[in-house]
């Protein structure tokens, strides 16, 4: 499997990372280099092996259903690039 220019365009869009036209080919090459290297995993027989999704075997802890006051709105918005009357503000969503 190898990554071409269009694939870079697709994953860059999925990742929401703008890319200059002339950066696409070099990035495809770099990514292909990494992929070619990781493909050596194909040599490992993983038939019937369960995937490891976490580094520990334990049961999921659960919290009690007790609500605390939310973060003060001012604190919540303090780092926001744009806020207006208690709202976060983003460029208009075009539906």
């Amino acid at each position: 499997m190898s990554i071409d220019r269009d694939t870079v365009v697709r994953i860059a869009r999925l990742s929401r990372i703008a890319m200059e036209e002339d950066a696409l080919e070099p990035m495809a090459e770099e990514l292909n280099g990494i992929l070619a290297w990781v493909e050596q995993l194909g040599e490992v027989d993983t038939e019937g092996v369960e995937p490891m999704t976490g580094a520990i075997a334990a049961t999921l802890p659960q919290r009690d259903d007790a609500a605390q006051a939310g973060t003060p709105t001012d604190d919540l918005l303090a780092n926001a690039p744009e806020a207006d009357d208690g709202f976060f503000v983003v460029p208009r969503v075009v539906e």
């Binding site: 697709r10 869009r13 999925l14 929401r16 999704t53 976490g54 520990i56 334990a58 049961t59 999921l60 802890p61 659960q62 919290r63 009690d64 259903d65 007790a66 609500a67 605390q68 006051a69 939310g70 973060t71 709105t73 919540l76 918005l77 744009e82 207006d84 009357d85 208690g86 709202f87 976060f88 503000v89 983003v90 460029p91 208009r92 969503v93 539906e95």
Partner: protein, 487 residues
């Protein structure tokens, strides 16, 4: 089965429809699914948001035990498989009201597996609709587009609230069945207290998958209609979408697998113009969470603690009180009403109570614009009012007036009766005096009556009632008139 009769008449033959529903039900809990922020509806923007909900750097989810319990209760009430191990996955996509850039959901291993919901059709038949699965996931925030012309405003109060997504099989065959399914599901959720079922506030929303086929053929390509927030819209959207699909196919086109929106004003569905490539959600197990494991003994405890479910209650109403299947079904459709009936019927004529609820009470609620589920009338008030009718203190007619006042203001039944002067006159002497006066004033009518125009009895009753300013007990008036005229 009456629903089998639903067909869309095409140009050259009939079409069946196949519908599946994905219902998003907001879980009743104090705190959110993965954070301790409160879930109350209607707070000031961004006032019920934890650092976790806002996806601040380094924040981590910890699951709310009660939300897990609510999902299990719901699964049990749907007679579904409870999966003792389930996994939370990340569904990755960008949207301004989705702070982490992913929704924590359950993809390949949901907490609840196959179950079913039984529908009571109008002709008394039943149909079972399969439940494919139920999983837990977090809600997104709210994007407000009408606040500013130049920008979208984001409120994260809802972000992280627990939802149950309940997916049905494509077993539904008509808009009516879809309506019944949704109402039945809502009644189950309300009965067990896992979702308040409030569609106006968005606590219950449905996505509808619709496809059409000629009788006996394979299921056609489906379209998904997103985010319907009333039973009426669900039914209407199914109908118009099915017609659209038939029209597309009959004009030589093909239905495309796509997501559509229902426009209730125009009564049509339309494609969500998506400039984006097909979604690629890149699901993978959330490494911030471990698999959720349930203790089978705990699941059994929850099962034992479930309240009586609507189907069982309906059967009991029929067996204990001799109600018809239809009446029993109406009463159990809303938990508040079923509870009211149970309490008010104790020691009273159950059919009379049922009739009063479905007649004057529903009428008064409707007039006041109150959902039956939110009925504010306490059982003792309802019982007292029914008793006042039974013992002739007031007339049936007056009972309507009283129940409207009780619904509107919460006033005391007896106080309303006195205040409005509704107490009827049953005193024999008083009524006889009125009867005498009417007879004395109308000798010609008396003669006519006695000559055989017995229909005039109604006129006499009316005159006496009028003379009593409507307060005389009509039954007593009737008796007194008959005794006097026929005697």
């Amino acid at each position: 089965m009456s629903a089998d009769g639903y067909r869309i008449r095409g140009r050259d033959g009939d079409w069946e429809i196949a519908v599946g529903l994905e219902v998003h039900a907001q879980v009743v809990s104090e705190a959110k699914l993965f954070s301790d922020a409160p879930t109350a509806f209607g707070a000031a923007p961004n006032s019920q948001v934890s650092l976790v909900d806002a996806a601040m750097p380094g924040m981590l989810p910890v699951i709310n035990h009660e939300c897990v319990a609510q999902a299990v209760r719901t699964g049990l009430a749907l007679e579904a498989e409870i999966n003792l191990t389930s996994v939370f996955d990340r569904k990755n996509y960008f949207y301004p009201d989705l702070p982490p850039g992913y929704q924590i959901s359950q993809y390949s291993r949901p907490i609840v597996g196959r179950g079913h919901v039984v529908l009571d059709l109008e002709d008394g038949a039943q149909r079972s609709i399969g439940i494919t699965r139920l999983h837990l996931e977090m809600d997104a925030g709210k994007s407000v587009h009408d606040r500013r012309a130049d920008a979208t405003c984001v409120d994260l109060n809802r972000a992280g609230v627990a939802l149950m997504e309940i997916v049905s099989e494509p077993d539904i065959r008509s808009p009516e069945e879809a309506g019944l399914y949704l109402r039945k599901l809502r009644s189950i959720l309300r009965t067990i207290g896992t979702c308040d079922g409030n569609m106006e506030q968005g606590s219950l929303r449905a996505d509808v998958n619709v496809s059409v086929r000629r009788s006996g053929e394979e299921l056609g390509t489906r379209c998904e209609i997103k985010n319907l927030n009333s039973v009426r819209f669900v039914m209407k959207a199914i109908e118009v979408e099915a017609r659209r699909q038939v029209a597309v196919i009959e004009s030589g086109g093909a239905v495309e697998l796509e997501t559509r929106l229902f426009d209730p004003e125009r009564g049509e569905t339309r494609s969500m113009r998506s400039k984006e490539e097909a979604h690629d959600y890149r699901y993978f197990p959330d490494p911030d969470l471990l698999p959720l494991t349930l203790d089978p003994a705990w699941v059994e405890e929850l099962r034992a603690a479930l309240p009586e479910l609507p189907d069982a209650r309906k059967a009991r109403f029929m067996a204990e009180h001799g109600l018809s299947a239809y009446d029993a079904g109406v009463l159990v459709a809303a938990r508040a009403i079923a509870d009211l009936f149970d309490a008010a019927a104790a020691g009273r004529d159950a059919k009379r109570v049922a009739n009063f609820i479905m007649g004057p009470l529903f009428g008064a609620l409707n007039r006041a614009g109150i959902e039956v589920e939110d009925c504010p009338v306490p059982a003792d008030a309802l019982g007292a009012l029914i008793d006042r009718v039974s013992d002739d203190t007031i007339s049936h007619q007056s009972a309507n007036t009283v129940i409207q006042a009780v619904v509107a203001t919460g006033a005391d039944v007896d106080a309303v009766i006195e205040e409005k002067g509704l107490r009827q006159v049953s005193d024999a002497g008083a009524i006889e005096a009125l009867v005498e006066r009417v007879i004395a004033d109308n000798p010609d009518k008396v003669a006519d009556y006695r000559a055989g125009r017995t229909k005039l009895m109604g006129w006499f009753v009316g005159q006496v009632m009028k003379a009593s300013a409507g307060k005389a007990n009509p039954r007593a008036v009737n008796e007194a008139l008959r005794a006097r005229l026929d005697g």
